[in-house]
């Protein structure tokens, strides 16, 4: 493999230009919806930003998780996203640029995954924005039950459940709710969202050229994070039924689900796991919940938060009530996610 990483069998010109060239492609393909903030190529907002009078939602994080984060910029979801290097936080400067570009006078909600680097940067951006008179509130997604105990829930990582955060925050903001209301509603919703995932094989960060972890031919990683961070256990793989039960049990327990409860389910592929397999997982999820008389209102099956070409999947459960359902069913449309 050469320095530029060309022999990695990736579509790539130069590993160090991976993020910027990929973003170029996205902006060229979707210029009708997406727009780069003047002067900051890593700050991307919806074409019609700022939407006057609407609370704006900003998100961001490392690159390599498409459609997370940038892919949720559009109608009914988020207003702007800043983009870091692969699996690395964006800079506070890019966050500030997004904040300025999307604030329509009603304030900005920062909604992102709970990682230390991202938190520090978003906090710094919020300080800078406050200095400029922009109202900012923050909600950190911390849905990954494998990453800390329930007692330390605020320390958990944010993974695929961020999708539900976007959906609720975006739909709530579209009703004209205030910044405080959007924040509260989003937090309430996320209190009812739990996720756990498992990884089958690693991915390769272009700039490093090496797989993010080693794993045996017949082993899987339970509780893996979306950057390939180790989870809670390694084990031999099992049947779809066994794997689904293993992921689902802790989610259902924590959410204290019982008969006649209604949930939405997200079966999320981590990158290279085929849709065909994800639907086998969904079949098991459905049957498992059905046996417990838990109703699935709206399943989502596909790639919602990925880790480049990592193989594996995660399950998220969102315990619904009528108001969450209303927001969940509201239309939403971005170049990457159409609901």
């Amino acid at each position: 493999m050469n320095e530029a990483g060309v022999c990695m069998k990736k579509i790539l010109n130069d590993a160090h230009q991976f993020v910027d060239e990929s973003l170029d492609g996205i902006l060229l393909a979707h210029s009708d919806v997406l727009h780069r903030v003047e002067g900051d190529p890593r700050a991307i907002v919806r074409q019609d930003a700022p939407v006057q009078g609407k609370v704006a939602i900003a998100t961001g994080g490392g690159y390599g998780h498409l459609p997370t984060f940038l892919g949720y910029v559009g109608q009914g979801l988020v207003d702007g996203a800043c983009v870091g290097n692969v699996f690395s936080s964006p800079s506070a400067d890019a966050m500030l640029a997004v904040t300025r570009a999307i604030d329509g006078g009603s304030g900005v909600l920062y909604l992102y995954g709970n990682y230390f680097g991202d938190s520090m940067n978003f906090d710094l951006a919020a300080e800078m924005a406050a200095d400029e008179g922009i109202q900012v509130e923050t909600v950190r997604v911390a849905d990954d039950v494998a990453s800390a105990s329930l007692a330390e829930r605020q320390k958990r990582r944010g993974v695929a459940g961020i999708f539900y955060g976007y959906k609720i925050a975006g739909a709530c903001a579209d009703t004209g709710a205030s910044l405080a209301e959007v924040k509260e509603t989003t937090e309430l919703a996320l209190n009812n969202v739990r996720t756990m995932g498992m990884g089958f094989s690693p991915c390769t960060i272009p700039a490093s050229g090496k797989p993010t972890f080693d794993i045996a031919e017949d082993e899987i990683e339970i509780g893996i994070g979306i950057h390939g961070e180790p989870g809670i256990a390694r084990q031999k793989t099992g049947t779809a039924k066994e794997l689904v039960a293993q992921l689902l049990t802790p989610l259902v327990e924590e959410l204290e689900l019982s008969a006649e409860d209604e949930v939405s389910v997200l079966v999320n592929g981590m990158g290279s796991t085929p849709l065909e397999e994800l639907y086998i997982a969904y079949r098991e999820v459905h049957q498992w919940l059905f046996d417990k008389k838990i109703h699935v209102d709206r399943p989502f099956v596909g790639a919602y938060a990925t880790s480049l070409e990592m193989a594996g999947f995660s399950l998220s459960i969102f315990k619904l009530n009528d108001s969450f359902k209303k927001y969940l069913h509201a239309p939403a449309r971005t170049p990457f996610v159409k609901l």
Binding site: F116, G117, M120, S147, I205, G225, E229
Partner: protein, 202 residues
């Protein structure tokens, strides 16, 4: 100063894989990339100014923009805090560098909430900085102080092998990291070592 930053930049290029791998044990495997970007940012700052305070401020901002991962943001905060602390026109001297290290450590503690023994960069940085100051105060030469600091950093970094992580991404990993050094701590040792070589035989 730009000679020293260039030495670090050159070293960082060769060390990328090692740090990605170390970080991969407990984190997301991108520390090597961060190290390279941080070193580039600091060298770029050194090309823009010869004033120490300015370099700390510009370098901090460039690191924040170009390498905003955990290590990068902490370093950025730390450099800026040290820069703010120095008086206008402060000259580079062995004593001043001792102060800079102290300020950086305080800021990293403040921003990151970690302490000695939490399996972070601090486990190397705190003993290294202490050794440095002690030898400078005792009237030893800069090369000697750096050599001693390097030794202390290495010992501190090695000590992380047996520490369970309490903070950062590595928090989730549990005892699988036992036996491996923390990437940030090892980075700290390597930077001292590179500087020590540079000042011994520049």
């Amino acid at each position: 100063m730009s000679n020293a930053t260039r030495a670090i930049k050159e070293w960082a290029r060769t060390a990328k894989d090692e740090f990605n791998q170390l970080d991969g044990v407990q984190g997301d495997g991108d520390l090597g990339v961060t190290v390279e970007l941080m070193a580039e940012a600091l060298d770029k700052a050194a090309e823009q100014t010869t004033d120490l305070k300015t370099w700390l401020m510009v370098g901090g901002a460039l690191v924040r923009r170009q390498a905003p991962s955990t290590m990068g943001v902490l370093l950025s905060f730390a450099l800026n805090a040290a820069g703010r602390f120095l008086p206008e026109g402060a000259e580079s001297s062995a004593e001043t560098w001792g102060v800079i290290q102290q300020q950086m450590i305080e800021e990293i503690k403040k921003r990151g909430g970690a302490e000695l023994g939490d399996r972070t960069v601090l486990d190397a940085f705190i003993p290294a900085s202490a050794a440095y100051r002690q030898h400078i105060l005792a009237g030893d030469s800069l090369p000697l102080a750096l050599e001693k600091a390097t030794l202390a950093a290495r010992e501190g970094a090695e000590s992380t092998k047996s520490i369970l992580p309490k903070t950062g991404r590595s928090r989730w990993v549990g005892d699988r990291v036992i036996g491996e050094v923390d990437g940030g701590a090892w980075l700290c040792y390597k930077v001292y070592q590179t500087l020590s070589h540079f000042f011994t035989s520049p």
